[in-house]
């Protein structure tokens, strides 16, 4: 609607840098080509995946009650054994005696791969042949705060950019009308740092999607609802006329000012395009049902998962879907059966997401990453009715995006406490996820305070065994 005279250079200057980057047209932005002036690094090698959906199970899902079947727990339930309990080890440096706790859920084998899944996750169980399990995961931090930060930023304490920001900085958004990194309902410890850019330029930070009064998700200040669109259009037109006049009255022609002028134009386009992407009501009843939106138990997480698919489909690089907030999370210290409530809330939506991505051909170049900040102990805690945190061995799965499917990598000891085979550290998982996106975790660096920083610090190995 506006004529303007921004040069190609200025357009490029802004392209692909995330929310509202300017590009000459969609094709230009979709090439994913980096350019130095936008500050985007660009892929280091041919990518297997274009984007990531991270399903964050905050609180810590118990591996021995879900995907890491340990029949010995039933046989030796209540037996007292010596463990290197991570929390007590951190506090006292000593091993402690702990009482094994059997799982209250039954396990069955599923799919051609024959993976064991407990009755907590019947929906995900139907998709085991699409999943790649990492049973030997381990991480840093034994309390939620440190471990959540480590999961997101690769550091338990220091202020570092989150993985989504690194990806955004590495690749930018695929769509100039949408942000490169979105976090849906970010809650829980770690706060803003979970989607923060730390020392990366703030434009790479995650955009929060929070549900508003009408129960729909939106980006802050995306639209205004109190004024008809025709009025907004009229005002935007006046703004650009005045802006151009102001520029003409200045003594210099500054690229930044011209870019600012262009940003208003893009914002105008965005507010017409982005709300449609965020509006799930246009989906068919069948699709909504697939995600469990028709059921009060699964509605909330189902909507978030469906939104994640829509965002990915539209070119967002990294979508984090958060489970666990004010309404509770997976942290069952004293009431293990509550795991079932959380499982019911997420299982159908996740199964639906996998099926939907698959039937749309999106799973091929989309990574779905499921997991929490740590797992839980195979022994009981306190009154013997729940499990404590366990960063030394737990299960995470990834699907799509060039990972092996129907595959399991690594294993924990006989009790499911500590990874013994194919151990994958959180740094390794980060390195591998970046690798699939075409980014070399050792070269994706940013200079700050006199040195190059990276997501994996001085650690991390790409786990080639899980790549197909």
């Amino acid at each position: 609607m506006f004529e303007n005279s921004i040069s190609r250079r200025q357009l490029l200057q802004q392209s692909a840098c995330g929310f509202g980057a300017v590009a000459a047209n969609a094709m230009l932005a979709r090439t994913g080509l980096a350019n130095s002036s936008s500050g985007i690094v660009g892929a280091h090698h041919g990518p297997k995946a274009k984007r990531i959906i991270f399903l964050f199970m905050f609180g810590g899902v118990s591996q021995v009650d879900s995907f890491d079947y340990k029949p010995i727990l039933a046989e030796r339930n209540g037996e007292v054994l010596t463990f290197n309990d991570a929390r007590l080890l951190a506090k006292t440096g000593k091993q402690t005696e702990q009482k094994l706790l059997n799982t209250p859920w039954k396990f069955k084998q599923y799919g051609q791969s024959g993976r064991w899944v407990s009755e907590l996750f019947p929906g995900m169980a139907e998709h085991v042949d699409d999943l790649c399990f990492l049973h030997g995961m381990h991480t840093e931090g034994v309390a939620h705060g440190p471990a959540t930060l480590f999961l997101h930023c690769g550091s338990t304490n220091m202020t570092r950019p989150s993985i989504g920001s690194w990806v955004n900085y590495g690749l930018g958004s695929e769509n100039e009308n949408l942000p490169g990194f979105v976090s849906i309902s970010p809650l829980g410890p770690g706060g803003a740092r979970k989607y923060g850019a730390a020392f990366l330029p703030p434009k790479f930070q995650g955009t929060r999607l929070v549900s508003n009064k009408n129960d729909s998700f939106s980006i802050d200040s995306l639209t205004r609802n109190d004024v008809p669109i025709s009025e907004v259009a009229r005002q935007v037109e006046l703004l650009q006329r005045l802006n151009r006049q102001q520029l003409a009255q200045r003594s210099s022609h500054d690229a930044e000012l011209e870019a600012a002028l262009a940003s208003h134009e893009l914002a105008w386009r965005m507010q017409q395009i982005a709300p449609a992407v965020l509006d799930c009501s246009t989906e068919t009843t069948a699709t909504q049902k697939l995600y469990g939106i028709d059921n009060p138990t699964t509605k909330d997480f189902g909507e978030k998962c469906l939104l994640a698919r829509r965002l990915c489909e539209s070119g967002v690089r990294f979508v984090e879907v958060n489970y666990g907030g004010d309404s509770g999370n997976w942290d069952q210290h004293s009431d293990l059966p509550k795991h079932a409530d959380h499982a019911r809330a997420v299982d159908r939506p996740i199964a639906g997401l996998l099926q939907d991505l698959k039937q749309r051909g999106l799973l091929e170049d989309t990574i779905v990453w499921w997991g929490g900040e740590f797992g839980r102990t195979p022994y009981s805690e306190g009154k013997g009715t729940g499990r404590d945190h366990n960063p030394g061995g737990f299960t995470v799965w990834v699907a799509g995006g060039g990972f092996k499917s129907g595959y399991a990598h690594g294993e924990t000891d006989e009790f499911g406490f500590r990874g013994i085979e194919g151990r994958v550290h959180m740094h390794d998982l980060h390195a591998t996820l970046l690798h699939q996106l075409g980014l070399d975790h050792k070269r994706l660096t940013y200079k700050h305070a006199g040195r190059d920083f990276r997501l994996t610090d001085v650690h991390g190995h790409v786990v080639h065994d899980i790549i197909s």
Binding site: L239, R250, S252, E256, H264
Partner: protein, 837 residues
Amino acid sequence: MMNQASNILTRFPLIVIAYCCCTNVLEAQSDSDPNVVKLAQFEKHVRPALTKYCLECHATSTEANGGLVLDSRHGWEVGGDSGEAVVPGSPDESRLMKAIRYNDPKLQMPPEKKLPPDVVAIFESWIADGAFDPRMEELPSTKTAHAGNSTESSKHWAYQPLHVPSPALPDKSPDANSIDFFVNEKLEAAGISAAPMAGRRDQIRRLYFDLTGLPPTSQEMKRILAAADFEVAYRQKVDDLLASPHYGEAVARRWMDVARYAESVTLRGLVFKEAWRYRDYLVKSFGQDRPFDQMIREQVAGDLLRSDDSEERYMQLVATSFLAMGDTNFEKQDKQQLEMDYVDEQLDVIGQAFLGQTVGCARCHDHKFDPIPTKDYYALAGIFKSAVALRHSNVSNWIDHPLPIPKEEEKHFEVLETELKEVTKELAAKKKQAASAAKTAESAKAAQSKKAAQSKSDSATAQDGPNAASRPAAIDSGSDLKAKADALAEEIKVLEAQQKGLQEKVDLRPRYLTVVEEQPPKDIAIHIRGDVHNLGEVVPRGFLTAIEMSKPMGIPEGGSGRLEFAEWISTANNPLTARVYANRVWSWFLGQGIVDSVNNFGTTGSIPSHPELLDWLASELVRNQWSTKNLVKLIVLSDAYRRKIDDPHPSVAELDPDNRLYWRGSQRRLSAEELRDAMLQASGELDLAIGGTIMTPSTKSDGNYKHTSKRRSIYNPLFRNSLPELLDAFDFPSPGISVGQRSRSTVSTQALVLLNNAWVHARAKALAARLLRESEYADPVVWSGSAYQICFQRTPSIEELSMCLDFFEPKVESRVPEQLERLVHTLLASLDFRYLE
């Protein structure tokens, strides 16, 4: 290669030949020489095992994780950061064995999985057998090549004493500014002619925003522009604004970026209720032009200074909150590591803020580029480890102490505290009583029901037995107990209310965020690779050894050294401090530093564009008792500062596209806070009160905090999880790290916020109402004119005015207020509002 080969040949002539041929030959010869046997073993078992399991991470050509390389004999002899890896002949003393045996949870290699037992056995017998290893070093060891203390990096410009140049001013006027002497010298040398002075209105707007963070009023602008001698008026304005209370706010806000100021931590949104005192310390200190060297001492060690003046004592104590402002993860369970993380954060900020040094790099290894060995890091860390900042529990606590207050107030709080203690004690006693009463009741009830059951079964046999009489008595005692319990519960309720009330009163006592010196202070050991569980040699507390002082400074017996470190930083002898601060202040007004990397004066930082100017500014700073105001005044009176933002001549564009030589003015955009303040100023809503806290007292966590205040942005609680309006969108830096220079993005999120954000709408509404209220004539021409005066302190051009008037067409009376609101909203969102000229 030749060298290596011949080297090997002299040591193992036979072996090399054999090795070059093939292993079979070796085996054939195996009886003749024990070394040959060992070599055969090595080649057959040890080398393949090393290659298969270790070299991916521990080789010169890969990562040398933990500083350990296992691709040569020399590699394991020297070992990694934790020392030698193999002790020939003693498997049990060899760290390599310790690691692969997997017995120590902190040292397990390879990390993915324990080696098969037969491989462990191979290593074990190899070491027991003397660890024969024919492999020579492939490359010169990296271990000896620490850039650390090399004389080369000590020669780095920033570590040299200030070279105080005396500008040979060709003195034309008494106002001639030395800054311009240095700047013009460079311009002349480069053959660039400077841009003319900016327009007068632009100069005044620039000056106002730079010195106070606020726009001028249109009346004030008119007055200055009408002055007979603009030069006199400008100079007068500089003095006025430097004396304005808002000057202190503007400078304090800049320093707060460097000091990573915030009032909460991201973890759980825990709130620092007392942090605002530090902010007010800054506002006051900069406002009163407190010498900056003194401010350094106060921020690093104010608690250790002394003053008999209670006001001064307050300032000293509160300044030290600087040390406790980090975005700490108090929940970290490894408390030893947490303490070291805390110290690291402090050193990181102090290093960057005052010294322009990236000290943090030396936590895990000698600094790769600057002459900061790990030893120096732990010498400093010892000082700060001796300043306790945490009280541990599951989620550790920071320390806030009661502030000294006048005697009579002190008395008042003492009385309250005693009362509180008593009530708490009584409450505990009553609760205990209640608990035991409940227990008694429980057991009585149990006994009773047992009796009841008993009597029920008894009744079958003995209808009127002796038990029958006891039944009513038991019920009586039950209701008795109940009455007693109720009374007790009531008492507890009253006491609890009392306790709450008293606690609230006690909480009113002013406190401050601080650290506490630990006695006796201790030296600490080098933490190998930064790991608290892997300690090396203990290093005496001390300062950075690369910086040579003309007067060496030490730490006296019994002291932690923090006070001395504060002195060491702030002494004029320290070549870094004055330079770093002078450069910082310069960058605040010229848009970029003479050293562009304002927080990094190390070898990885930028080199100064004008070294003489930098040293001159630093020496002026010192000569004028570290007066910030004096420095600021010099800068804003210089031509370099006052130039027009001109388009470069093509030749200049090529020579100096980034304006490193300051031939033109710098493009300045309002910061997020300035933009917010300017909108409130325009709408007539800005509350210019100074100081104090406006945080809602009941705030327990920072999530979803509603920022409703109309105070200046600097006074909004700076919450790491919920920043005030506009800050997120307009590049407010992460308050978790020291930021020397904010980044500046131009993205459409900003445009969206300006157009759609409800807070911005409210300002537009208020501005429109103001115009309707204050305008003499209800006419779009008048409104437009006034709006331009308020927003930009100028009259609209003909074109602009006509665009504004068009916007009111077709004119429908009832829609006028609405249209006016849209019009002024548009002006607030326009480029001229946020980009200065």
